[in-house]
């Protein structure tokens, strides 16, 4: 008897939870749950009108999220400005030393560039990749254990395609993985799912650079067994995937407890503008 009462009680509760629209509620819980399951199942359609509606929705939400995040950004910007003022003298002393080194390196770099062009001409090598790029603004950045990505202000309306390489200054930071009409998502090389073919110099050792979900260090995979990689070696993109051009610097090798890791050249938390490269 009491068991029946309990069951009835439970059914009444369930009915009232799912179907009753409470005070000031316009939708019942059941309706909204069904709608969310329907939207979730539409994720399987990657093309056609469903995809177009999804892209427009994403564009609208990303743009409005950017506007809403402006106050938060200005607060963190003010904070970092204050911190920078405190560190100014120390930075100035460091930069004085760097400047002298930089001038020497620039002269050396110019020499190597000219030599490289001369040698390329000699062997009739054509540049397969285009150096054209768009400079775009970063709208939002996402850091979570599952996702390291940036949302940018240009989409496939501007010619941005999936797989396009993205740089911050001269350094490779990731590639386009999602392109809407007016916005795109960059998957950073630090993301867990990021796998980039790279080449390690000196030695021209090919490998795969994997993200770890951590913004500071990446991992090198599929190395030859008897490799002679030293600390401080530079990691460049190899271009062997046919999408990302070769020779873009990514980071430098550091050895940590006999593990080979990559210290990225870019601080992913400080990116405001990026260059999106595309193939001709």
């Amino acid at each position: 008897m009491s068991r029946e009462m309990g069951r009835d009680d439970f059914i009444i509760s369930a009915r009232s939870v799912f179907l009753n629209k409470g005070n000031r509620q316009k939708f019942s819980l059941l309706t909204l749950i069904i709608i969310s399951i329907l939207i979730l199942s539409l994720e399987y359609f990657k093309s056609g009108p469903v995809n177009q509606i999804r892209m427009i929705t994403k564009d609208v939400i990303i743009k409005s999220s950017y506007v809403a995040s402006i106050p938060f950004k200005s607060i963190s910007k003010t904070y970092s400005t204050v911190i920078n003022h405190f560190n100014m003298y120390e930075e100035y002393e460091k930069l004085k030393k760097v400047e002298i080194k930089k001038q020497n390196l620039m002269l050396e770099n110019n020499f190597f560039k000219e030599e490289n062009q001369r040698l390329k001409k000699l062997i009739n090598e054509k540049n397969l990749y285009n150096d054209e790029f768009y400079i775009t603004k970063v709208l939002l950045d996402q850091k979570s254990p599952y996702l390291r990505s940036l949302l940018i202000n240009k989409g496939f309306k501007h010619g941005i395609k999936l797989g396009a390489a993205v740089r911050s200054d001269s350094f490779f930071i990731g590639k386009i993985v999602d392109s809407n009409y007016f916005t795109s998502r960059i998957l950073l090389i630090s993301d867990l799912n990021s796998k980039i073919p790279v080449i390690i110099e000196p030695g021209s050792i090919s490998a795969i650079l994997s993200g770890t979900g951590n913004n500071e260090l990446g991992e090198i995979e599929y190395l030859p067994e008897n490799n002679k990689i030293k600390e401080g070696s530079i990691v460049y993109t190899s271009g062997s995937d046919g999408v990302i051009s070769s020779g873009i610097p990514v980071g430098k090798i550091i050895l940590e407890n006999n593990l080979i890791k990559v210290d990225y050249f870019t601080d992913f938390t400080q990116i405001n503008f990026v260059k999106v490269y595309y193939k001709k």
Partner: protein, 175 residues
């Protein structure tokens, strides 16, 4: 003057929703690295749980659904998964509201743990087994546990905000 009063009352009535939307938009700010583990606090779970348990009348399910969609776009999750999770929390809290007469912090805290474990498991199953999105199990579990730990503190702050809102609303009604 009455227009200002009216809009002020409306603002107070939607204040919990504003907090939820702020938490969703600034989601990336609640991530911390502890001992090489990434802790991602699910503040939005906490807010949905708290307000739908205490004051469901000021927390429209439609807004919760919208906040979920917003979260999915920002986090690059499959669209609809966060809405589903948030609404599931609402279902659980609605059950508790109907079953428990007297609420206290400890009951709420324990029930919050049960709710986020259920929702976290569903999140993991949908992402990993249906959409084949690899997620770090330890990270998810640590994040949920950290969210559970901060519940009493945030619940106190939210109760304090709720009291202020209620006092203002009552004052307006008396006028």
């Amino acid at each position: 003057m009455s227009i200002i009063n009216k809009s002020y009352s409306k603002f107070l009535a939607i204040f919990p929703v504003i907090i939820l939307f702020i938490s969703v938009l600034s989601n990336s700010k609640y991530n911390f690295i502890y001992d090489e583990n990434f802790l991602s606090l699910k503040i939005s779970y906490l807010i949905v749980f708290f307000w739908s348990l205490k004051r469901p009348e000021y927390f429209g399910y439609g807004f919760i659904f919208l906040a979920g969609i917003l979260n999915d776009v920002i986090q690059n999750n499959p669209l609809g998964i966060s809405s589903f999770e948030y609404l599931l929390i609402c279902v659980l809290t609605a059950f508790v509201r109907r079953r428990i007469i007297l609420q206290n912090l400890i009951y709420d805290w324990v029930f919050f743990l049960i709710s986020i474990l259920i929702v976290g498991s569903i999140n993991y199953i949908i992402l990993v087994y249906i959409f084949n999105i690899p997620i770090v199990y330890n990270g998810l579990l640590l994040g949920l546990f950290a969210t559970f730990l901060i519940y009493p503190v945030l619940a106190k702050i939210l109760s304090w905000i709720d009291n202020i809102v209620q006092i203002r609303i009552n004052d307006k009604k008396k006028q």
